[in-house]
């Protein structure tokens, strides 16, 4: 794929701890994928071609023009790849919710490696494991050596691992937004480094439902109410994340009568999704009595962390105070950092 493309930009697409949905969404740009192939040489993309990390290692620093990196950093191998691709790329894009804010797998930061191993291997209800074996980085089988990457205690975002140039939000980013971002990159019409490439409005601004004055006496869980299909879901007591969530999807979930779950991350100018969402909810609670407010919250929001930080826990203000670089603890050989890039 790299032949005859001396004048074209070099594009890399990589996945770390992710589900594959980002790749599906990239392919959903359909026939425009040919325009991408016309503009870029794809030099690295494990899902479609046989280029290996060692080939990337051999490249000069900053040889890749744009790297779209999806997935969070959960293992030593993923950290290695993040550092390597940072060093080799001029522009590194945290692609999708996992890379940008940790996404749903980032909820694992409410627990740790040992608890996860207990749940999956040692005390799992369908696992027979009398020796309480767990996967380990080095094993000997029949005299041969098998290795696995180290599973970290903490999920980190790409931006907590290396310096990120741009963020493309969404779980996954919607295909038209991917295309817009690629066009912006091709035309060099990019916002300042470190920015999110996305809308400045919220999901509420895209939502066709009618809004009146929001005043709520009780929050409802989705299984407790069949909402009216035309009216604002938050006004009906459902914890719709529309007010705190960046626009970009076209309010898809509210259109099938389901509340927004916040997959597009905090709206423009907001650092912490949960803080924004809590502020939005506080303003609609129809009470001035602290006891009643307490009751409304206790009854209607039984899992505040999982509700307000469903997609953004790893990146949020609630993140673990001490983010010990796992690589240091595990003596991982890291690629030499280029100047001013790695963090």
């Amino acid at each position: 794929m790299s032949e005859g493309g001396k004048d074209k930009g070099k594009l890399a697409i990589y996945w770390a701890a992710s589900c594959g949905g980002c790749e599906i969404s990239i392919l959903a740009i359909n026939e425009k994928i040919l325009d991408v192939a016309g503009a870029f040489d794809i030099v690295f993309c494990p899902c479609i071609m046989d280029t290996k990390a060692r080939d990337i290692e051999k490249m000069p620093d900053q040889a890749i023009d744009v790297c779209l990196f999806n997935g969070s950093i959960r293992t030593s191998e993923q950290e290695y790849m993040a550092r390597l691709l940072r060093r080799k790329s001029k522009v590194l894009v945290a692609f999708g919710s996992c890379a940008g804010e940790g996404c749903i797998p980032g909820l694992a930061n409410l627990t740790n490696r040992e608890e996860i191993f207990d749940a999956c291997y040692r005390e799992n209800p369908s696992t027979e494991n009398p020796d309480r074996a767990v996967p380990v980085p080095d094993t000997r089988v029949n005299g041969f050596h098998l290795t696995l990457p180290v599973f970290y205690d903490t999920v980190r975002t790409l931006g907590q691992t290396v310096e990120v140039d741009y963020y493309l939000p969404g779980c996954p980013p919607e295909a038209p937004r991917i295309w817009e971002a690629l066009v912006a990159i091709l035309e060099g019409k990019l916002p300042p480094r470190g920015s999110v490439i996305g809308a400045q409005t919220t999901v509420c601004d895209e939502c066709p439902r009618t809004r009146e004055e929001k005043k709520i006496k009780a929050f409802k869980r989705t299984w407790e109410v069949i909402p009216d299909e035309g009216k604002c879901l938050l006004e009906q007591g459902l914890l719709c994340c529309g007010p705190a969530t960046r626009a970009g999807c076209g309010a898809l979930c509210p259109q099938v009568n389901s509340p927004c779950i916040g997959c597009y991350g905090p709206n423009a100018g907001v650092e912490d999704f949960g803080c924004r969402m809590m502020t939005a909810l506080a303003s609609v609670i129809d009470s001035k009595d602290p006891d009643e407010i307490e009751r409304i919250i206790q009854q209607g929001i039984p899992d505040p962390v999982g509700t307000f930080y469903r997609f953004s826990l790893a990146r949020s203000l609630l993140r673990r105070a001490a983010l010990i670089p796992d690589a240091q603890r595990h003596e991982l050989p890291l690629p030499k950092a280029s100047e001013g890039r790695s963090t």
Partner: protein
């Protein structure tokens, strides 16, 4: 032990990448082969503490390629947990959505991933053995049909479930929104196209594959045959069903080993842990874990399209039933243990999914307004199960009385087949590496074909252009030095370098 160590890395994803390690003895013969899964995310732990109703949205993030399967298994677990039985319209809408997903997913696999080996032939020039080669051979007309089938499916999934990736639609007791008569007509129209597409695909398979004795020989060869147990979901008449039913397991001889409600899965299934992989190895509890061997005394089982057909007595739709009979007649009766026949079974399932899609789209209840009931009982515990394209998928949740999760257990599609895939990889390696002689192109192709038949989810991403499984095989001396490297470029060219 002297000898060499062959590494194939990466073979792409399940939850991340996969890696194959092949060990040779000092004669250069294969001692063992291991398919390692080097990643874990820990859903079973971090979902604890979350509201149960979030699970269809949380667990769809296990896999962005088949989120519909997790969304649906999760919703069914919630039906049980909240004691909320969905009304008939809701059940039918879910099954309709699910059949559309199945037909779409199977199309992708057959034409882009598994198909090129067959359509082009395993010994066709390597640069032809990909989706582009398929298009050249069968013509743009057919390529257009494939693309239409996929685009139609994805469009309908978004129309019904709200989103093309990660739907937000199913709830305990039903779904969040029904369909209009106008939508129903569109679904029916595209469903009829899908039936024609399914028939056409089977004709193509029979014409190209079965018309060639070499293919039939390959399908039935020892290297691709494993006599294991088979698992699948069946309806009351023991016919294949993807959305609901009883789990049926048949033995290597075809006799029924078990037939149980999905909620009883722990009486029949257990999982084994090996320290060299993050993925566990399910096995039949009553037979027991005997390691990586097949046969009656080993608890290994497969849960694939072929397994579902083996474990059932037939198909519930007329055209698919005809094709079912035709396959078993051609391959010498039930059960069939030839891994490569999984591709044939997958096309029969595609046709069934399309026929069932039309049946449901023309059901008078499908546009009903009664698509949801609200739970009234205290939530406690629930199991939900569907057939994912890659195997039986089980979600099991426990909650407190507020519906907050206290425990979660998940056995996902591909996991069922993890041990058999290891067996298949080892057999292929043994057949192709003898006395240290590595058959370059043969090893690449046939090791690939061995696990590609399962459509393992770590192969998901390779569904796309150029449709090749990217591979590098490194042969190392015992001190770890790479002495020979075989790789294939994106266009299918194999390159070999000595170092």
């Amino acid at each position: 032990m002297a000898g060499k160590h062959v590494t194939i890395d990466p073979i792409t994803r399940l939850e991340g990448h996969g890696k194959i390690d092949i060990f040779l003895d000092d004669h250069g013969d294969v001692v063992d082969a291991f398919l390692q899964i080097p990643e874990l995310r820990g859903f079973e732990r971090f979902c604890v503490g979350r509201p149960a109703e979030d699970m269809p949205n949380l667990t769809s993030r296990i896999c962005g390629v088949c989120p519909e399967a997790h969304h649906m298994a999760s919703a069914k677990a919630l039906d049980a947990l909240f004691h909320a039985d969905p009304p008939p319209t809701a059940r039918k809408l879910r099954e309709l959505f699910y059949c559309i997903f199945f037909a779409t997913d199977h199309t992708t696999h057959f034409y882009a991933l598994g198909g090129p080996d067959f359509v082009m032939g395993p010994d066709a020039p390597k640069e032809e053995r990909n989706i582009l080669g398929v298009i050249r051979k069968v013509g743009m007309d057919i390529a257009g049909k494939v693309l239409k089938m996929r685009a139609d499916g994805h469009g309908l999934i978004k129309m019904i479930g709200g989103r093309a990736v990660h739907p937000n639609w199913a709830l305990p007791g039903g779904v969040s929104r029904g369909i209009t008569e106008e939508q129903r007509q569109e679904i029916e129209r595209l469903g009829r196209d899908a039936v024609e597409f399914g028939r056409f695909s089977l004709q193509l398979f029979q014409q190209i594959v079965l018309g060639n004795k070499e293919y039939v020989k390959l399908i039935t060869s020892d290297a691709f045959t494993h006599r294991t147990y088979n698992m699948g979901t069946v309806d009351a008449a023991n016919r294949v069903n993807f959305y609901d039913g009883m789990i049926r397991i048949t033995g290597p001889d075809g006799r029924e080993h078990a037939r149980y409600h999905p909620r009883e899965y722990r009486e029949y299934i257990a999982e084994h842990v090996e320290p060299w992989s993050y993925l566990k190895f399910p096995f039949l509890k009553k037979v027991g874990w005997r390691g990586f061997v097949d046969g009656e005394d080993s608890g290994l089982y497969k849960a694939t399209p072929l397994s579902r057909l083996n474990a059932a007595d037939g198909m519930a739709t007329p055209l698919a039933q005809k094709e079912y009979d035709r396959m078993y007649e051609a391959l010498g009766g039930k059960p069939v243990h030839h891994t490569l026949a999984t591709h044939w079974a997958r096309l029969i399932e595609l046709l069934y999914a399309a026929e069932r899609w039309v049946e449901l789209a023309t059901d008078p209840e499908i546009t009903g307004k009664d698509y949801r009931v609200l739970p009234t009982q205290t939530p406690d515990e629930g199991v939900g199960s569907v057939e994912a394209p890659r195997g039986t998928l089980t979600h099991h949740y426990w909650t407190d009385e507020r519906g907050i999760l206290t425990r979660v257990n998940l056995i996902v599609g591909t996991t069922n087949n993890y041990a058999p895939i290891n067996l298949s990889v080892k057999s292929a390696a043994q057949a192709l590496i003898r006395k240290g002689t590595v058959v370059t192109e043969g090893l690449l192709n046939k090791v690939e074909m061995a696990f590609r038949a399962y459509d393992p989810c770590f192969g998901c991403a390779t569904h796309y252009l150029p449709g090749r499984m990217p591979l590098t095989i490194v042969i190392r001396s015992q001190d770890g030095r790479a002495i020979r490297r075989i790789r294939r470029d994106a266009d299918g060219t194999a390159l070999e370098t000595f170092q």
